[in-house]
Symmetry: C2
Subunit: 469 residues, 2 copies
Amino acid sequence: MDEKNIRSGADYDAIQEQRTDELTRLLDSRDMKQLQRRMEELNEFDVAEFLSEIKDNRMPMVYRLLSKETAAEVFANFDAPEQEQIINSITDSELAGLLEELYVDDAVDMMEELPANVVKRVMRTATPQTRALINQYLRYPENSAGSIMTSEFVDLKKYMNVRESLARIRRIGEDKETIYVCFVISADRHLEGIVTVKDLLLADDEDVVEDLMDRNVIFASTTEDQESVMETFSDYDLMALPVVDKEGRLVGIVTVDDVMDVMEQEATEDIEKMAGIMPSDKPYSRTSPQEIWKNRIPWLLFLMLSATFTSMILTNFENMLAVQAALVAFIPMLMGTGGNSGAQASTAVIRSLSLGDIEPRDALQVMWKEWRVALLCGVTLAAVNFVKMLLVDGMLLGNDGVTVAVAAVVSLSIVFIVMFAKVVGSMLPILAERIGVDPAVMANPLISTVTDAVSLLIYIYIAKLILHI
Amino acid sequence: MDEKNIRSGADYDAIQEQRTDELTRLLDSRDMKQLQRRMEELNEFDVAEFLSEIKDNRMPMVYRLLSKETAAEVFANFDAPEQEQIINSITDSELAGLLEELYVDDAVDMMEELPANVVKRVMRTATPQTRALINQYLRYPENSAGSIMTSEFVDLKKYMNVRESLARIRRIGEDKETIYVCFVISADRHLEGIVTVKDLLLADDEDVVEDLMDRNVIFASTTEDQESVMETFSDYDLMALPVVDKEGRLVGIVTVDDVMDVMEQEATEDIEKMAGIMPSDKPYSRTSPQEIWKNRIPWLLFLMLSATFTSMILTNFENMLAVQAALVAFIPMLMGTGGNSGAQASTAVIRSLSLGDIEPRDALQVMWKEWRVALLCGVTLAAVNFVKMLLVDGMLLGNDGVTVAVAAVVSLSIVFIVMFAKVVGSMLPILAERIGVDPAVMANPLISTVTDAVSLLIYIYIAKLILHI
């Protein structure tokens, strides 16, 4: 095995850099023959990475060295800016050729990202069939099964035998996104079953598809959300999921590589929502400061304005706090502890809901569990805090205001604040799910704001009770 | 197509409930023949779900109705408690049979979850070969490529022709986790190339594997982390990734269904770390309050104790704050805004780092981008806050302390706090990545604590400057 071709993910970066260097050397010395040969040997993902690194106008020239088939695969691996650069540098007939080579779902992905004038040119050069297909796909709602599916699948009829089926796969398989799962359809394109190449290979030549196929087909409808497609995929360990229209006719399939992209995208969205960012499909590196601002400012504004409640509470008890000035010093710590406790609970519950580990109907068990966790956490924190306040704040830092009574007030408040934060933090996402809102928007910042105000009230009432002020 | 067999992810829950009801009715009426027939028709995931719903001791009895092959597949879909229940209810020879039917990676997964005494019994009943395999797998570090791989793959020799290769696949393919990617190895088991069933089917019978195989093989080493395996998979859109040992010999493969599980697990870990939870492999619903407490208390304690800095700052400036008591009311809002702004930036950067969208060397571009985002966000928030303080706090709520000067102090502080929080929030994860620490542990709570103290200092100094106190 040629050592240069061996590569593992661990030292992937080093090897990729080496390869880029080698290709760049070939490019700089204008050894186009050798460059072409090396690029055809490499994986199309690596070629796309190398081409993206060439920042000047030599990139389209190098791209043209690729064979038609490799070129399409490399193109599908490009980000939007490189795709645009290529489209702008090739002739109409080359563009038409490229479109025919691309899988329809890759072409649709591209159209969704390109500027309108480029899209127009692409649509003009496409063949009528391709244009019709792309148009049809673009009509499906964003993030629906219809928008991520591809129509390049192998269809069989149930009366075919294994030999005929394999012959058909050999004949039409070249351009299909997967040949390993074949879809058995009736004359009016209704899905009747699926059969895998494994089933076919392990059967006898004369066996009939009808006897081999699995009739218990798991499928999606075109308008179904990609998140639910993803769940079906990972629950059932599928290789390909058929997509049917309202009339039950097979119109496309979703393959596992598309689903992996969706998984990444959905996890990113959840993470963003939890941090109070409006989700966007664009990667961070290609989002402008104005767009980032648009995604972040709504929550910041909302959270800033809702802090008016804490301001009101503090203003109301101004006089009381003036009497016991030492109490003010611990307000940030109490709010922080409440916010962090709540965020832990809400994060755990949001994630478990989205993985299907818990359901809204488990609300009572979750509350009971969080109640016990909160008691454990609250008591631990309170004990540590009591000792720390007396030793560090009182003796070490010489803060006279920190008496045993004040330390008791703060510590007791911690217990109640943590209990409140954990129970509310775990229940709000479940409530959201129940009323049909995305639990991830019951984001940590939102829960912090609720717990901030309540923490303050708990603290003030416990202080009143114990310190008699 | 039988309507009852059709199902899509969207109405999945409803249909599953219906099916569970149907099966439960059959079970209650003791119609075992029909129950058996229905279970064999269903997907093994659904059968596992149904069996998990039977909470009493009839479950093992129903499980025994399944054919040997289905039983193994259903078993692999069980969670640990159900697996244990089954193992405890079957005879040693049944257990041995079950082990032979399981894929090795599923058996290893099971062993990692079961209590020690059950593991002992399982190991005792396994055949020597299976035991050796399981032992070998259990030796790989947790979350390494070795621990998630399976040894059930199809190997070919490069001098075989297509007819011979397909014959071999037909002969040994039955028990392999995938037959669609075949691995070409030398006499001493070194990996020489890969060839897909698609390549074989589309070639002529007499073509030789050597001419069809792809020598440019992407592979992982046994000790490589599963996160890097996952990245390789999604970068290259693979179906199966070969795993080689230190000597370059092929020892196993990782298939796409394993990787999807890994993706879920890694996203969960990142999310947990960002919320200040120590990650655990166990689902929330099966984690005891004590274990949850252990995962959550370290960060809570650390964050509570580090709030000592904010307490010290507040105590130091107690007298100044007593003069302008109105200032205290806005401390929680300023800290909250700083924390939320920082969390947004750190979340965006952590996620982009883990998706490979940005690299540590992009630090300067990221800082420059966040600087502009912060300016936009800071100015927007300050403007809204200025108007809001004068109108709501000053006029509506009649807080006399809120003068134009105080509103100016708070608003100006917002600008600087947001700038500080966003730049620090975006840089800390990059710094972590550079020094080889997981960026996700530069968690939002940690950044909040840093920004809390700095926000307070910014506020106090601006107040001094403008209000001359």
